[in-house]
Amino acid sequence: MNITEKDIDHLAELSNFSLSEAEKTSLRQDLQNIIGYISQLDELDVSGVEPTYQVFEMENIWREDKILPQEADREALLNLAPAMTDNQIKVPKVL
């Protein structure tokens, strides 16, 4: 399949990237090549095969609904933020 400029813009939006024109051009070529390679699955017949989403042999491991002790408290986590004010994470205007 052919990856268009529009496809790249759409994927950049889904990925939350602000890409330069040069980056878009090289990514378009790279993605074209990668998708070309992974498309070889077209020739494989998987009818009647169940998908595998995980290889861990257990599921639904229950534990009591209690908060486990955590190493990092609110302050330690807030201190990681690039910008902070009044004990809250600061961000630029939303709209």
């Binding site: 990925s15 990237f17 992974i38 998987v46 990092a72 630029p92």
Partner: protein
């Protein structure tokens, strides 16, 4: 010159505990070697001050006659995607460059509880995306045998740290070969356990259904010790299995070893095919039964991997948004610009490719054709391994189709770089354990490795096989083939398993 086998880590910690050598001098020696080999760019950061302080504490404990752990005073290197408050955890990326983690990965806690001392954080492909350590934001790591060649990846720094004998062990993560391939490129042991054996808590997530924590060592005995220490269930990682490692019967009488016919083709470097043929002959001579396997579904594993893993990557890496931690672009004026610019500046080109491919295969219209189809093909791959393990106990294959390639040779051609993973990714898709063992060298002195793959939970048996069949696999010619001057003539390197007798 007379050379003797150096003590393994058990021996090292015994020497420290019996005051033959101090933990401080052991750590100092490791830090000096790290300085000496600076031009290989093994480390992203050194932990000198903390390491020396911890070593002094261990020496003091011993002096007071207190009990110390199984790794007391043993220096190690930590791949830069393990969180710990010692230094910054950058995952060799710009977006995490400022991250001083308040939490410690479970694996790190277990190692440190036994007295191991982290001397530095090792370079890697940014977010473990890559097969050469060239995708690091801080620049590439050189191969231990040829500075003009790649270390392999993504755990390149860790592999080279052990190969240059800076430290006896290093941590790694293996999502599609990131431990086994650099181990093979540098002549050391590299183990990727059964999925869920070691906790992933506190490890920067890449692809949650295949990510595994493992190690690099200079011998299988050290690997066994690390597995005994680190395997086991963790309430902070719900995908961990209860410890089966220390309780399984590890030795098997006359195991049958499978070899995969489908991998014996021209796409594999002649030296690697030669090494495999030689080792198979040696194993036959040593009395092992060799079984030929046909596994045609494996040919699709690489395509499956580069659908499933980018899909999980795109999801796992969406958390890096410049808001709560890490790098935030100073030029962003709106919230959406914070996301867009921070992520665009903060990720390497390969991170961007994988995130975008992931979003492509998951997007409506392509989900069934790519993502769902890949997950069905994954089932076929798992079934093929299950059938193979009815006919044999272990499988012996190359780790990668080529020995270490040149820096810059593949980094701008993602598909040719991905092809290097063709023999390592299938086992991650199936969640199997696999150990890289060094088996020899090319005529130009590059390391060659093979991997021993086993069924789920055969981890202890694989490592026992490596000990048991060691001579047949390594070959008898170790000293002669390894003792040579470095490529640039300024450093003298030797087999890390040996040391000069003073």
């Amino acid at each position: 010159m007379l050379r003797l086998l150096k003590p393994n880590m058990k021996g090292m910690s015994m020497q420290i505990a019996s005051k033959d050598i101090s933990a401080v001098s052991m750590v100092k020696a490791a830090l000096e070697k790290a300085e000496k080999y600076q031009d290989y760019h093994v480390f992203v950061s050194l932990n000198s001050e903390n390491a020396l302080k911890k070593a002094a504490e261990i020496d003091a404990k011993i002096a007071r006659g207190e009990k110390v752990g199984r790794l007391a005073g043993v220096p190690y290197a930590l791949k830069d995607n393990f969180l710990s408050p010692e230094g910054k955890t950058t995952a060799s990326s710009k977006i995490l460059e400022p991250l001083e983690s308040p939490i410690t990965a479970t694996a790190v806690k277990k190692l440190e509880a036994e007295g191991a001392i982290m001397i530095g954080r090792t370079n890697m492909d940014s977010f473990a995306h890559g097969s050469s350590t060239e995708n690091s934001y801080f620049g590439p790591t050189s191969n231990s045998k040829d500075k003009a060649r790649v270390a392999g990846g993504s755990s390149g720094g860790s592999a080279v740290a052990v190969a240059l004998d800076i430290v006896p062990f290093a941590t790694g993560t293996d999502t599609g070969g990131s431990i086994r391939q650099p181990a093979s490129f540098n002549g050391v042991y590299g183990f990727k356990p059964t999925y869920g054996t070691i906790s992933r808590y506190g490890v920067v997530a890449m692809a949650s259904s295949t990510d595994c924590v493992g190690f690099f060592t200079q011998n299988p005995e050290d690997m066994d010790l690390l597995m005994q220490i680190c395997a086991g269930q963790d309430s902070y990682d719900m995908t961990t299995l209860p410890d089966f490692y220390t309780t399984t019967q590890s030795r098997q009488d006359s195991p049958r070893i499978g070899i995969i016919k489908d991998f014996d083709n021209d796409a594999v470097h002649p030296e690697i095919r030669r090494a495999l043929t030689e080792k198979v002959d040696e194993l036959k001579k040593a009395g092992y039964e060799i079984v030929e396997l046909s596994m045609p579904a494996l040919k699709y594993a690489l395509a499956v991997y580069y659908i499933v893993v980018p899909a999980e990557v795109s999801s796992n890496l969406s958390r890096h948004d410049g808001i709560r931690y890490g790098y935030r672009s100073a030029e962003a004026e709106t919230l959406s610009e914070v996301y867009g610019k921070s992520r665009s500046d903060g990720f390497m080109p390969e991170n961007k490719r994988r995130i975008m491919i992931g979003n492509f295969v998951l997007s409506s219209g392509f989900y069934d054709a790519y993502y769902l189809k890949a997950q069905k093909a994954r089932t076929l791959i798992i079934q093929e391994y299950a059938k193979a393990f009815e006919k044999c106990d272990f499988i012996l294959t190359p780790v990668s189709p080529n020995p270490a390639f040149k820096l810059g040779e593949k980094v701008n051609d993602p598909v040719s770089m991905y092809m290097e993973d063709v023999m390592s990714v299938p086992i991650n898709l199936a969640g199997l354990p696999s150990l890289t063992i060094p088996v020899g060298k090319t005529p130009e002195g590059l390391d060659l490795g093979l991997q021993i793959i086993g069924p789920r939970r055969s981890d202890a048996a694989i490592i026992a096989l490596a000990m048991q069949a060691g001579d047949a696999l390594r070959g008898p010619a170790a000293p002669a083939r390894i003792l040579r001057d470095g490529v640039d003539g300024d450093t003298k390197r030797q087999d890390p398993r040996e040391e000069e007798v003073k």
